[in-house]
Amino acid sequence: MFRTDTGETPSRIRFSFPLIYLLMKGRSFPRPSILLADDHRATRVAVASFLEASYNVVGAVGDGLSLVEAIEKLSPDVAVVDISMPRMTGLQAALQMREMKSKTRVVFLTLQGNPEFLHAAMAAGALGYVLKYRLDSDLPLAIEAALAGQRFVSPPLSDLEF
């Protein structure tokens, strides 16, 4: 909301709101890039349009193998990933990404609320875990946290984290 068309922070903002400037400084200008992975077309459409206002959605794939390929090619800042996908699951893809030493931060967006999946996701190096029905409220928070290298877990699950 402070950005001009070129993606630069106006100088009046830089100097009058130093804390905000510092927080935003760590982000990549232009807008952070996000890649989506979900085998349901409706979810890809819904999430892409939702995120497009604030982020650069660089692609949307429908299975885990395509995800790994896209990560290699595009190196997005964040990947928003479903767990259950054909060819390779989101969890397997996250593990692959870690092996590839990918810098992309992984945020899971899933129906699965089972603690076992949550633990597996965290063990695979994901930073975020968002329940799909809480997409509106939680996904932006999870993405911002991931960009700052922090974890975020949807509140209904967050005390199951450890």
Binding site: H40, A42, T43, V45, G113, Y133, L135, S137
Partner: protein
């Protein structure tokens, strides 16, 4: 004593297979469906004692299909399975007179118990659901649901799945104009401005 007759519905064939093998020793699995519309028509033909159904199914989701099945034959017991953690779904299922509600990752044994209980006229709720509903009580961010009519939900699911208005009309046996009308009503009622927002609402509600 004859075995209870069970009809299954789930869009994952592997899961259907597993369910059939699980239940066959004790029950008579009379058929299966991979989408809600087929379920409704098979239930009408086969008149099972119990329907075990997934909530998330294409064309017509389990909640709405279950409602139609119950409307045609109220003696049919419904046992819902889901992987969706949304506590609202449990509430919706019981509003539709569910005899059982289980999360898919529950132990297989729970389903057998649930069917036995349903046949005795009792209701079975997976212990994990109690947890889930308790978490809902402490979650103030979840607003009260805005009610769509059953028909509006049907239309919304089909459109969100990517069907054109013409395709949706032909699936529901109504004119394209009627679909347009429903879509307009839905968008006004929910204050949605774009198709993408419509789809997003459907995703959040677990319709797709």
């Amino acid at each position: 004593m004859s075995r209870a007759r069970v009809l299954l519905a789930d869009d994952h064939l592997i899961f259907l297979d597993a369910l059939t093998k699980l239940l066959e020793p004790e029950f008579e699995v009379v058929g299966s469906a991979t989408d809600g519309r087929t379920l409704v028509s098979k239930a009408s033909d086969l008149k099972p004692d119990v329907v075990v159904l997934d909530i998330g199914m294409p064309l017509l989701n389990g909640l709405d299909a279950g409602q139609q099945v119950k409307a045609k034959r109220s003696e049919t017991r419904l046992i819902f399975l889901t992987q969706n953690q949304d506590p609202n779904l449990a509430a919706e299922a019981f509003r539709r007179k569910a005899s059982g509600y289980l999360l898919k990752n529950s132990a297989a044994a729970e389903l057998v118990i649930a069917i036995r209980e349903a046949m005795r006229g009792r209701t079975y709720v997976s212990p994990m659901i109690a947890e889930v509903m308790l978490s809902r009580l402490s979650d103030p961010t979840r607003k009260d649901r805005i009610e769509l009519t059953p028909r509006q939900r049907e239309v919304l699911q089909l459109l969100a799945e990517g069907k054109s208005m013409k395709e949706a009309g032909s699936i529901l046996n109504v004119s394209t104009r009627t679909i347009e009308f429903h879509k307009q009503q839905i968008m006004e009622h929910l204050d949605l401005k774009t198709n993408a927002e419509l789809v997003r609402y459907a995703v959040k509600e677990g319709l797709v």
